[in-house]
Structure formats: structure tokens, C-alpha cells
């Protein structure tokens, strides 16, 4: 089967710093792919390259066989890749419903239909109660849900989620994990960046491990976790403790 997303030899340098060096991986339709790596490993940069927010130095990206390398972010979104941002970017002066409507309006110009779709997405992320609040009034965890709802409202085939459980309080993590699993049930393909290894082992069908901009492992979660390079770079302390 052809992969939904195919990333080949992607590289990016910022001045003297190599953010991504020759990264290759693919994502199959319907799976959850996890990306792990210590801070500065190049995870968020990789998202920016795939979604067109930064130009890549070399390499190419294909979505369902179509080359999307070098396209503008709005074009890539229109082709079916949604994303969230590590540094959250809510539309602060819009209400929660209005925020998600902006996403739904990617697929329709009918405002009532967009509103109803937005409400459904809000129900999905369990944020319906806050629908008439302004986005700036939400907590960090609620904002993450809002970003997710907004991206989902564009009805993406593939969603890239940057640290859904990062920076939120521990009690809300199980709910967020549950959310991602329900996404998968609905047939959305997910690529998620995650620091929390326990969360990742529960979620991911396959894992891509990065370190200093390079791919150090790629495969089934147990395999990746067992790789010495991964243990050294990222899991050293966890492995020692167990």
C-alpha cells in the first residue's frame, strides 16, 4: 500500500545549525505515528517543513502520491493536512465557536453550516461548554483542545499535532490521549509529537525518533524503545530506572 505521507531526505539548516538532516519516513493511512526526541531534535521544524511554513533546503514531501514540496501553507491545508502549533496560536479576539468556524469555512461558505460543524468539533473535543467564551479566556489545556477542534473542522485527512499533552496539567492528559485515539477511530491519520514516553507507547502505531536533527530510529514502538541510540539520546534515565 502506498503511504499517505511520504517524506524523503528532508534537510534544513539555520545558519550553522542543522535542524533536520536527511530525514526520511512515511505515514500510512489510518495510523498514529509518534515523533519523539529531546528538545532541539528538530521535531517542530520537521512539521514546519511538511506544512510549508518554512522552505526546506533539500528533500521532498508527497501527500497521497502528490508532490507538495514548496507549496504555501494554505494550499497544503487545502489538500488535507491539518496541524496544531507547539506555541498555541488561538484567534484571541474571536469566541471559541468563531475560532472553529474559521476552520469549518475551509469547506463551506454557508455560515450556519460552518457554525454547526464547528459545534460538532467542539463537542468532539469536549469544549462545548466554553463555546461563547473568547479564546483568550481559556486555560492552556482548553486552548489545546480548541486548536485541535479548529484543525479538525477543516476535515483533514492527516493531522500533525505538536505536543498535545505538553504544558497541561497531569490530570487532563488521559482525556487528551483518549481524544487522539478517537480521532484514529474516525479514520483521521495522525502524526503527533510527544515528550511523554508513556503516552507515546499507548498511542503510537509506529515511532520516529530524532536526535540532533537526524533520524535515529523508525519503526514499531517496542523496537524503537529498545534501540541503543534511542536509549542513549532520550530514554537513558527511564531505562536505568526499570
Amino acid at each position: 500500500m502506498k503511504p499517505l505521507l511520504d517524506v524523503r531526505g528532508v534537510s534544513k539548516r539555520f545558519g550553522g545549525v542543522t535542524a533536520n538532516a536527511d530525514i526520511t519516513f512515511d505515514v500510512n493511512e489510518g495510523e498514529i505515528l509518534g515523533i519523539i526526541g529531546p528538545n532541539g531534535a528538530g521535531k517542530s521544524t520537521l512539521f514546519d517543513l511538511i506544512t510549508g511554513f518554512q522552505p526546506m533546503d533539500s528533500g521532498r514531501v508527497q501527500l497521497d502520491g502528490r508532490d507538495i514540496t514548496g507549496m504555501r501553507p494554505d494550499r497544503i491545508s487545502a489538500l488535507g493536512i491539518g496541524r496544531t502549533f507547539q506555541k498555541l496560536k488561538p484567534f484571541s479576539d474571536l469566541t471559541v465557536t468563531e475560532n472553529v468556524m474559521v476552520g469549518a469555512l475551509a469547506g463551506t461558505a454557508d455560515m450556519k453550516l460552518a457554525r454547526d460543524q464547528a459545534l460538532e468539533c467542539l463537542a468532539f473535543v469536549d469544549l462545548l461548554e466554553k463555546r461563547n467564551s473568547f479564546a483568550r479566556e481559556l486555560s492552556t489545556g482548553q486552548r489545546k483542545r480548541l486548536e485541535l477542534a479548529r484543525a479538525l473542522a477543516t476535515r483533514p485527512r492527516l493531522i500533525l499535532m505538536d505536543e498535545v499533552t505538553g504544558g497541561v496539567d497531569q490530570r487532563t492528559i488521559p482525556g487528551l490521549v483518549e481524544l487522539v485515539l478517537r480521532l484514529k477511530e474516525q479514520g483521521v491519520t495522525v502524526v503527533t509529537i510527544e515528550h511523554n514516553m508513556q503516552v507515546m507507547m499507548r498511542l503510537a502505531d509506529r515511532i520516529l525518533a530524532l536526535h540532533a536533527g537526524r533520524r535515529i530510529a523508525f519503526g514499531a514502538p517496542e523496537e524503537v524503545r529498545a534501540q541503543p541510540a534511542v536509549v542513549d539520546a532520550y530514554l537513558g534515565t527511564v531505562a536505568d530506572a526499570s
Binding site: 488561538p90 460552518a114 461548554e129 473568547f134
Partner: protein, 342 residues
Amino acid sequence: MQGGTASMLEAAKAEHLWPRPPRWAMAIGAAAAALLLAYPFVFTSSFAHHTMILILLYALMAQSWNVVAGFSGQISLGHAIFFGLGAYSSTVLFAKYGVTPWAGLLVGVLLSAAAAVAIGVPTLRLRGHYFAIATLLIGSSVQIVFQRWEWVGAASGLYVPIERTSPWLYLQFHRSKVPYYYLMLAAAALGYLLVWKLRRSRFGFRLQALRDDHDAAASLGIAVARHKVLTFMISGAMMSVAGTFYGQYVLVLDPERLFSAEISILVLLMTVLGGSGTLWGPALGAAVLIPLSEYSRIWLGGTGRTVDLIIYGVLIVLVCMWRPSGLLSVFEERIRRRRTVS
């Protein structure tokens, strides 16, 4: 989905798509509309007419500025360009070729939209202050061009030739200001209707989204640059309409005044005072600042010119202290927030 969520979803979908303003606000609106329609017959002095014509004119100009700043988040300091282009288009065509100002109005709109593209395509990629600086400088340059350009009268400007045969065709009313009043009222009403529709449209939602965050907007499929240029065009066209009416009203075009940075800044002050990004803020700002400047000129004679600016300054400082987002924005947000039925 649990039962609770399902019933809440039903309740949410049953809510009005657009929140209703409270009754008292509707009552104020109806009273204001009635007053505006009857105004020339209630207040019959020429001065009262003149002041209200200026308020309506500036309400339209400030709304034009609001479209760019309040919705797409770009601070333009060169909006007088479009005002001047509107006035010159109709006047040059009429004075030199006898073309009716109605056609001149359309030419002005097209020229202003074209100018907005020419200015906007290179400058709208600049963010924040840099766009403001660029438009300020382009505005001064355009003013200098019109002050030197002999064909359009250079620094002494142009007169609209007096034409008494057909007032509505030539847009000149010499006996009374009342027709000008209703023309301006209609123009302003159309402008506000347009913006009211805009705010409830997909395009308007996208503008407000990119105003708050470019990247998030792009990630949802919004072509940010194209939307910004298009908005600048709409805004320039609105400003141009105001320019044509102003030219027909005063019948003298002075490049010093028409293309002045003062006009660009005045529309900014009005909008910020009333609440940028709101529908009625620009009108409120015009309704506060224009009488202030007209009356201070009467009470204080020629020196009133500077006094009104001092009062503007004090007002802006007060608004910044108490209502940094403008007089009306808190009110509008309260309506948008509405009561959540759960």
C-alpha cells in the same frame, strides 16, 4: 459521545447563528435612524447641516480605515491617498472633459482599487509598524506628486466648474445643503451595510482570523497575502467614494488638504476612539470628534484648529486608560459572548 454532550450540542445548534443585540440597543439604533432621516428638518441651520455632512463623511472614511485596521489588522497611515484620488478623479474628468461626477466616482473607485494593489502587494508583506511607515511615506510622496503636477493644477489645486443646469447629474446643489446631506447619509449607510455583511461572511471571518494570527490562519487554508490585498482594495474604494463626494461638496480641491497625513491620522483617531474592529465604533468616533473640532473653531476662532487637536489627544489618552480597545468594543463583545444555554 455521552448523553450530556449530545443534548448540549442540540441546545447549541438551536441558538441563533448571530447573537441579538439587547432591546435597548435596538431602540437606540431605531431612534438614531429616525433622527438621521429627519435631521435636516429638525435642525435647519446651514451650520447644523454642514456639521452633520462632515460627520457622515468622516464616519464613512473612518469605516474604510476600520476595514483594513480593525478587520485585517494592518495599520495604514496613507489612507488620504484614496480620498484624494476619489476627489481628483471626478473633478479632473468633469473639469476637463465634462464627464458627470457619477462616472468620475466609478473611475475613482477603480483607480483607488488599482492603487491599493500597487501599494499593497509590496507593502502588505511587511508586518506591524513597517506597513504603517511605508504607507505614511507613500502618502507623502503622492501628495508631493499632486502638488507638482501641472496638469491637475499643481499646488493651487482644481476648482469644480459651477454647473446649475442639472443638480443630480452634476452632483452640485447650490441652494441648499440638504441634498448633500442625504447623499452622504446614503453613501455612509451603504458603507456600513457593506461592512455589516462583511463581518458575517466567510471573507470577514478569515480577515479577523489572520488579524489575530497569520500562521494559524494559513494553517486553516487562508491565503493570507491575497486576503490582505483584497481588503486594502475594498477599503481604498470606500475612501475614494468619500473623496468624490467631498470634492463635489466643497468644489475646491487643495492637494495640501486632500492628501494630508492629518486626514489619514484623523480616521485612525476616530476608529480607535470608537473601537476598531467594531461596526459602529468609527461612526461614534466621527460623531464625537467632528463636532468638537467644528465647535472649538467657532468658540475659539482661528486658533481653535490647534485646541481641537489638544482635546483629541486628551480623549485618546483617557480612552487608552479606561477602554484601550475603544468605547464600543466591550459592548460588542458582551453581545457576542451571550448567555450560554447548557
